[in-house]
Symmetry: C2
Subunit: 360 residues, 2 copies
């Protein structure tokens, strides 16, 4: 048996999927064509890319804000829309850094349990009765960390609640285009464009090192974010925006996404099969895309103890507590990213995990 | 006479100085050599560039923090070191966006008059008696907007005050290497490395569109900034850091700076001569480098009125008020950036300004 460490923590693309030569060529072409723009100060990013993103979403460029990563975009959103003392709702569990950014503003971050079909709406409405938040942060497709996709029914109800209470839904959607089976569910943004800020990025569909994220939303909010950004860094890094624009302009993004799906689909297949075979007692989530599958391990499991024993066995596991606004809720939670592992690593990793659970 | 608009407001490099082909080649080489790093998530930026910057300053890499522009770096500094209700001192006038970022934290921004040889130390000490700030923000070389360089005597006194009061000096130094005459003055950072955060960037010596800034400082502060950055954007944009590293590794930065000085030196010469000839009644600053010369126009001048009349004459002037914590102090202040204008444009621009003043 191969005893080299298997890492079940890294929610990142494997480096061998990056289209290196295409990006080099596109970067060169863009910089030679438009050096006086791409090497100069700017506000609002590279206009042709902004227009391309706008076109993709069927909105005017004034409804697109681009930043150095979607995390930066969310940081600006929290700074512009959330005041100290406000409430902010998130799915529980959710992306750990989004919790951190909301707390930085001085907001009270309220976690609402995420179920297999989206956030628990009864709990959400009960929390709304206690006090409406300035925003609800949701990862509607192939959620990080759970892998869950919110159903259309729940999306429609969320859209209605946002209208009713005049609050913002921030829909973070970096995995949306990485669907390996099944049909797209309409985005929250398509259901309530006047109350939704729809975030995405090029990290999962092209390369994270580009740090290129964006948000689509109502023009006044986008204008507020743009102004905030000018005072924060004047404008985003431009030569990489030129590179990405040229890549998209040539129509290469769609085929790249198809290629990524061919790589990732069998990996999701492999981990589902391995988990069913080796750990059927756990109620694993059943994603149709994205980067993550997850589950709550049996009662009595403690992630701290488990991780220590896993390390001895050549297995690196994530600490689930960071994904929960109330960390204790995550003591039995395990997120397994599968995209950066080969099918063989997946099978061996899950096999080790199963032995670990039996010994526990 | 040429009636095309002459813009005396843009403190940016002229686009024809960007070394486009060299940057294209360096970007290509870097990305081909290190794609798995430069296209992936990262924390702390591209390690070889960080080491190169560290070497240049004779410090270990742990004393370097790199961000997407030095403005972003300063934004993080204010968020990590300044609390709401703190005091923060700046030169008056100073870079307008730095005032904005300090105010965002909820700090009281106190402007201390900048004289021809640096900040007024009597006023500074009087303000210190009223309450020490968490930091003093200073642009010691070829200051923006005044063009003034702080003397060694004043730097030594500032260093002593920082030690005495246990406060941070943030030395923003983007123009330092663009000295057209005379001798370098030791940086504040060299005089008190334990109390100084020394910021710089590649915007003025290479290209602003790269948005690549950094700060040198004591390791614990750098560690705090690094942690803050990870939660803010995970890591900075990387392919451009690879490009800049390759450019620097090849020894091209020094010769680029020499080339820039050959372009900018005659422009500073031209504006000094033009101002002496046409507007001798104004006490213009006398910079030996950088991007700006400035002066207070005669009593009775009002910048709002002046700008309106200038526009009719084909001259665009900046509104000096934004550079002052107390905007009214800037009603007669005029900043003139000279690097992005040809010598002919400079002569014609100053000639129009002189006519404007005569008519006023």
């Amino acid at each position: 048996m191969n005893r080299s460490m298997i890492n079940l923590t890294r929610g990142v693309p494997p480096p061998d999927v990056f289209p290196v030569e295409d990006l080099i060529e596109c970067g060169e072409v863009a910089l030679r064509r438009d050096p006086a723009i791409l090497l100069q100060y700017n506000q609002g990013g590279y206009a042709p890319l902004r227009e391309w993103v706008a076109d993709q979403h069927g909105v005017p460029p004034e409804q697109v804000f681009m930043g150095n990563s979607s995390l930066e975009v969310f940081s600006f959103i929290t700074q512009v829309l959330v005041q100290s003392g406000d409430r902010a709702f998130v799915e529980s569990p959710t992306y750990d850094r989004s919790i951190t950014l909301l707390r930085r503003t001085g907001a009270e971050v309220v976690g609402v349990s995420l179920e297999g079909d989206g956030v628990d709406l009864n709990l959400l409405e009960a929390e709304l009765d206690r006090g409406a938040p300035s925003l609800i942060y949701l990862i509607t497709d192939f959620q990080n960390p759970m892998g869950v996709t919110t159903t259309l029914q729940k999306r429609e109800r969320l859209a209605a609640l946002a209208r009713e209470h005049g609050l913002w839904l921030v829909e973070d959607s970096p995995y949306r285009r990485l669907r390996y089976w099944g049909e797209d569910v309409p985005s929250l943004w398509s259901l309530a464009p006047e109350r939704v800020l729809h975030m995405s990025s090029f990290s999962k569909v092209l390369a994270p090192g580009l740090r290129l994220g964006y948000v689509i939303g109502p023009q006044p909010v986008i204008a507020g974010l743009s102004e905030w950004a000018v005072d924060s860094h004047i404008g985003p890094v431009l030569p990489t925006q030129g590179m990405v624009y040229e890549y998209c302009r040539r129509g290469m993004l769609d085929s790249n996404i198809e290629r990524l799906k061919e790589v990732y689909r069998p990996r999701l297949d492999a981990i589902r099969t391995a988990l069913e075979n080796h750990l059927p007692e756990v109620d694993w989530t059943d994603p149709q895309g994205g980067f993550f599958v997850s589950g709550f391990l049996p009662e009595g499991t403690d992630v701290v103890d488990l991780r220590a024993r896993a390390a001895e066995m050549g297995l690196k596991l994530s600490d689930g507590r960071g994904f929960f606004p109330n960390p204790d809720d995550g003591r039995r939670f395990l997120r397994i990213p599968f995209c950066s592992l080969t099918e063989e690593e997946i099978r061996e990793g899950v096999s080790r995990l199963a032995r670990l659970m039996q010994e526990g």
